[in-house]
């Protein structure tokens, strides 16, 4: 399978044939049914994550049999809880250490947007640090919520294709030391809800 983007447009023009769609199906089926999570629990969401992993909700039913507390052996990073700036380089390093294919779930309001912590110490959404596939809202989300997020991720993986050259690309920091444009980071970190009434200088 020689996949080359068109020289003029950069678009892959060869269409998936019967063989590659069957291969995609097989690869995606095996990937989505043995997602080993890398739990990055920083706060109360981690308690709900533990409940999800324990016997009553039983994460193992969905192929997450093994909690991989080693980034090298995990497939999905689950950030459960708020992320302070002090931990930002830590989660980035863990993400960089994870081997492809890898995905990320942002669990809870704080991981997704900073939540109620719109202050000097908190990252306003982990998507300014690592790319996120599924956001699970809630404060904290119930185990059902996290399970739904995981099922959504499995659905997303089922739709992936070996023909998409953008999927497995590692995004590295640019010259400014950020993984996104500074303007994008500022836009993602905009205050919202009650926090727009708080004072801000600079």
């Amino acid at each position: 399978m020689d996949v080359k983007p068109d020289a003029a447009t950069g678009v892959v023009t060869s269409s998936p044939n019967w063989l590659t769609t069957r291969l995609d199906f097989l690869v995606n089926w095996s990937r989505r049914n043995s997602l080993w999570p890398m739990p990055f629990g920083t706060a109360c969401c981690a308690i709900e994550f533990m409940a999800t992993a324990a016997s009553r909700y039983d994460l193992a039913r969905f192929g997450m049999e093994r909690q991989a507390f080693s980034p090298r052996q995990s497939d999905v990073l689950i950030c459960a809880g708020r992320l302070p700036f002090k931990l930002a380089p830590v989660i980035r390093k863990i993400w960089d250490q994870m081997a492809q294919p890898k995905w990320c779930i942002s669990m809870g309001a704080c991981a997704s947007s900073g939540g109620i912590f719109d202050n000097y110490a908190m990252v306003q959404g982990i998507d300014t640090i690592v790319p996120v596939d599924v956001y699970v809202p809630g404060c904290p989300p119930r185990p059902e919520g996290l399970l739904y997020g995981i099922l959504l991720l499995q659905k997303k993986i089922a739709g992936e294709s070996v023909f998409d050259p953008t999927l497995r690309v590692e995004k590295l920091a640019d010259s400014s030391g950020l993984f996104l444009e500074p303007a994008t980071v500022d836009e993602l970190s905009e205050p919202f809800g009650n926090s727009v009434h708080q004072t801000r200088s600079a």
Binding site: F85, K86, A88, P89, V90, R92, K93, D118, N119, Y120, A121, V123, Q124, T128, I129, A173, S176, G177, L178, F179, P182, A183, V185, D186, L188, S189, P191, Q198, T199, R200, S201, A202
Partner: protein
Amino acid sequence: MPANHSVATLQARFGDAVRHAFVSCGDTVVVIAAARVHDALAWLKSTPGEQYDYLVDLTAVEYRDRERPLEVVYQLWSLERKVLLRLKVELPKDQELEVDTVTDLWAGADWLEREVWDMFGIRFRGHPDLRRILMWENYAEGHPLRKDFPLRGRFSRAEQTRQALSGDLEAHYSLEELAIKDVTP
């Protein structure tokens, strides 16, 4: 509730250095001159009849009234006599925010004083290792618990993220950093 008897003994021993004393919610509070606070604490710790041998907490306060000085608060407890005593030092904002360390009296004051330095910018003279403790090492926005500190910090979110990501992980989470120092003399 009557004031702790240590107010009288402190006044007898340190005279004018004891600025004033009062009882708040049943706890005795003594405000003492910054220059004498180390002497007073050493005396309170070692003198029979006082024996405040346990430093419960060391923290600082900045009041909403911007004219009022910052306060460093020492909460003492006598394990022997089961008595609380609170000492306060007032540090006017137009002067150097500096007070003597008490790490030579209580080794446990080390991290408490680092926290007060980190959050309020009060220096502790003679502290063996006065670095930030809660905020990261290359944090450049000041001291967050001061009243003039904006809630979201001084820099833009992009700049904050960039500075946080530029931190050197190995420098602060290395095995050497985490190793417990040999405490035997």
